[in-house]
């Protein structure tokens, strides 16, 4: 593993929870690695997996989808739909040996600034161990 490797994480954060948790982590001055490129979306259920795949193909080392805890979705059930979609993505990536471990789905509520920082720390660490994403390295992808 290259010591200087800094993984790039693309984050799709739900407006009502994870995006607010990110703000909370910031205003509370909780330290976490600056490896994540956050994208605020209205709901984790609005994230088509095509965007996740696009990010990975364009060189992201991991993708984090942050949504509300089950039962807490602002739109009643968007997070459940996101969960099923990620389960399908996992299955397909597993079959094709494309490393589903680079795609994380995490429930992080608006009050969980500490948890948000912890997830980012954990993910950055694990992706550093893994090294660069081979999907984004090929000139053919």
């Amino acid at each position: 593993m290259n010591e200087n490797f800094e993984p790039k994480i693309v984050g799709f954060f739900c407006n009502w929870c994870t995006a607010a948790a990110a703000d909370l982590a910031g205003t509370s001055r909780i330290q976490y690695p600056a490896n994540v490129r956050p994208i605020r979306v209205m709901c984790s259920g609005s994230v088509d997996t095509s965007y996740v795949i696009k990010a990975l193909l364009e060189g992201a080392d991991g993708v984090l989808i942050g949504g509300c805890h089950p039962g807490d979705c602002h739109y009643v059930n968007g997070n459940y739909k996101a969960r099923r979609r990620v389960a399908l993505l996992n299955s397909i990536f597993n079959t094709l040996a494309l490393d589903p471990e680079r795609v994380w789905l995490r429930w992080i509520s608006a009050s969980e600034g500490v948890r948000f920082a912890k997830v980012i720390r954990q993910m950055t660490e694990e992706l550093s161990q893994k090294g660069p994403n081979p999907m984004g390295k090929s000139p053919q992808t």
Partner: protein, 365 residues
């Protein structure tokens, strides 16, 4: 109700006879059947308005230029409630039709859904080569001529139908089986040769066929999985892809009028491409072909009926249908969501079960 029909005739003639009876008794107003294009050696679905043209139909021609399910969606739009359209579908077409019903693209209200057992199909080119004045039948081809997806198909009999036309286990004629009340009502008006009380011969024949195909599929898909494992191999697999989207166009369950992958979502200003080229040294064009295939797997993987129309449409003979069979059968098994099994099943990607995948989204243990 299950019984033998027209024992003295071969399945093709018996099926024509059956449809003639349906027309004759005014049980149907029209019928969508595979028919020979006038003067040509091509078999395409045709909508018949009377029994007079049944001579040109070839219900068991072992070729499938396209999925008839898509044509069914055209003729059931604002259907006349007083008419009944009979349609003859293969198992994969019936399963695609079920998916299209779930997607609100087909209404079965005025449809008499007739399916028939399917031993498999060959590519249209293979079919044409063997065709002369007379058209070839299934027995004119060897096992190796069959499309690989057909050899792997675990549905010799359609799971959803009003009436199924059985050939497995039939000794002369066809086995008619009503699978719904609508089908039973129709069969009351049809002269069955004899009721079939003992279906063990048919069950055994179907089981034997399924076992043979399952064994082939297991071996074949395991090899394919090795061939595509990892991004480099996947790139190799799709190397000839020209991004024409033919596979998508012929896919019966890809029903969107405007496809996400035809949209301008990932069109960028010219200089961006140069930036990316500079970063990667070489930027392969066209972009997004891998995104298209992986994205489509995610969009329709849970609705895929493994008919292989995508593969038949591919100008570069990429084994895309076999790959979709691999990922869709695996995913449908793992997620316990099965395509084409019931019109009352919920849509896979618009619904959820609270109790599924509960470990996801939580911390890893």
């Amino acid at each position: 109700m299950i019984g033998i029909y027209a024992k003295g005739l071969n399945p093709r003639e018996a099926t024509r006879e059956f449809f003639a009876e349906l027309f004759g008794a005014n049980l149907i107003s029209s019928a969508l059947l595979p028919a020979r294009k006038a003067g040509l050696n091509q078999i395409f679905p045709a909508l018949l308005s009377s029994k007079d043209s049944l001579e040109e139909t070839f219900p068991f021609a072992p070729v499938m230029p396209l999925s008839t399910a898509v044509q069914l969606s055209k003729i059931t739009r604002f259907a006349n409630p007083t008419n009944t359209v009979a349609v003859l579908l293969r198992p994969c077409e019936s399963r695609a039709a079920v998916e299209l019903v779930k997607l609100r693209q087909i209404s079965l209200d005025n449809v008499l859904l007739i399916t028939r057992d399917c031993p498999g199909t060959v590519e249209p080119e293979t079919f044409e080569e063997k065709a002369s004045d007379t058209l070839p039948g299934f027995s004119d081809f060897t096992e190796d001529d069959l499309r690989p997806v057909c050899r792997m198909c675990s549905y010799p009999e359609a799971p959803v139908a009003d009436i199924n036309i059985g050939t497995f286990g039939a000794e002369g004629g066809i086995i008619l089986e009503a699978k719904t009340e609508k089908g039973a009502e129709i069969l009351k008006h049809i002269k069955l040769e004899q009721e079939l009380e003992d279906t063990s011969a048919r069950d055994a024949a179907l089981k034997e066929e399924k076992d043979k195909r399952t064994a082939y599929a297991e071996k074949h898909l395991a090899e394919l999985q090795k061939e595509v494992a990892g991004i480099d191999n996947l790139v190799k697999f799709f190397a000839g892809c020209i991004n024409c989207h033919n596979c998508r166009s012929m896919c019966p369950v890809c029903y969107c009028n405007e496809c996400f992958f035809d949209s301008a979502t990932f069109h960028f200003e010219g200089p961006r491409y140069e930036e990316w080229a500079a970063r990667r040294v070489v930027l392969q064009m066209p972009r997004d072909e891998m995104l298209f295939h992986l994205g489509r797997m995610n969009h329709i993987g849970l609705s895929c009926v493994a008919c292989g129309m995508c593969e038949q449409a591919c100008p570069h003979d990429i084994k895309v249908g076999q790959l979709f069979t691999l990922i869709s059968t695996t995913a449908q098994k793992e997620l316990d969501i099965h395509a084409g099994m019931s019109v009352t099943d919920p849509l896979p990607l618009a619904t959820f079960r609270e109790e599924e995948f509960t470990e996801m989204g939580e911390e890893k243990v």
